[in-house]
């Protein structure tokens, strides 16, 4: 099932350090592909990632089931000092985020680098 799903939703991960991971999403994130992403995020968290940056530049579509995946993880991550940030949203996706007020509860950054900087600064503050 997942092999077919990879054609619908591509998930590429880049681990910057033990806690920080960039996840690039490409394709369609709907009720059909949401469990695939959920499982993949679960794997990242199990392997120690607590700061997740989702680059959505090439995501073509998202529905409430897809948005629900981020919601399922963000509370627990924040309670444990981690977080989720979004970067490089294209217009189609931003419109839907705005519709649901996601821009009020998540940081949406223009570039992945900005999101990385944010996490690095937070880490420095925590270590002070």
């Amino acid at each position: 099932m997942f092999r077919l799903m990879e054609e619908k939703l591509s998930i590429r991960k880049e681990k910057l350090n033990s806690q920080l991971e960039i996840i690039y999403l490409k394709g369609i994130l709907d009720a059909h592909s949401a469990p695939y992403l959920e499982s993949s995020i679960g794997d990242s968290i199990l392997s120690g990632a607590s700061y997740l940056i989702f680059n959505l530049k090439e995501l073509e579509y998202i529905s409430s089931a897809g948005l629900g995946v981020f919601m399922a993880f963000v509370e627990d991550l924040r309670n444990n000092g981690g977080d989720i940030k979004f970067a490089e949203l294209n217009e189609k996706i931003y419109i839907i985020f705005e519709l649901l007020g996601f821009h009020l509860i998540f940081d949406i950054l223009n570039s992945t680098e900005q999101a990385i900087d944010y996490f690095n600064q937070k880490k420095l503050r925590t270590n002070e």
């Binding site: 709907d30 529905s63 649901l100």
Partner: protein, 146 residues
């Protein structure tokens, strides 16, 4: 409502299966683009229809893929309507409206986003539960497109 097939422009029947969502989305987008809706509105309209059908597959049909959902897209003056029919247990989504955005944010894990999304995108929502004369529930979503 005039539900005669003379006004029917596009028709699709899908099984109650999330694997059918791609077909559904493409059908809605292609139909409304052909009727003159712009691409931004077309994508949002498809999202609203998909949210309604996702709820049917999940809650009304309980993932029984042998069950069916039918869609008709019609144009009436400056409005486009999609008529979604199912034969599961009746559920009027208008009964849970209005939903406040703050409530969605406070209950991050509990869902309810689908109906909220529909209400944000669609200009008019009507629901007719099945009865003695009509064996199917009918949800009608209307959007102005000019």
């Amino acid at each position: 409502m005039n539900s005669s097939f003379e006004t029917c422009t596009y028709y699709l029947r899908i099984n109650a299966d999330f694997a059918e969502l791609d077909k559904l989305r493409n059908f809605v987008i292609n139909s409304v683009l052909a009727l003159g809706m712009d691409s931004v509105k077309a994508n949002l309209f498809a999202l609203a229809v998909e949210e309604a059908c996702t709820n049917l597959i999940k809650h009304s049909y309980n993932f029984d893929s042998s069950r069916e959902i039918t869609l008709r897209i019609v144009q009436q003056n400056k409005e486009i309507q999609v008529i979604i029919e199912d034969d599961g247990p009746s559920f009027n989504p208008l009964k849970v409206l209005p939903i406040k955005m703050e409530k969605i944010h406070k209950n991050l894990k509990k869902g309810g986003m689908g109906i909220f999304i529909i209400s944000q995108i669609i200009d008019k929502m009507q629901y007719f539960p099945k009865d003695k004369t009509n064996s199917k529930n009918r949800l009608i979503l209307t959007k102005n497109f000019v």
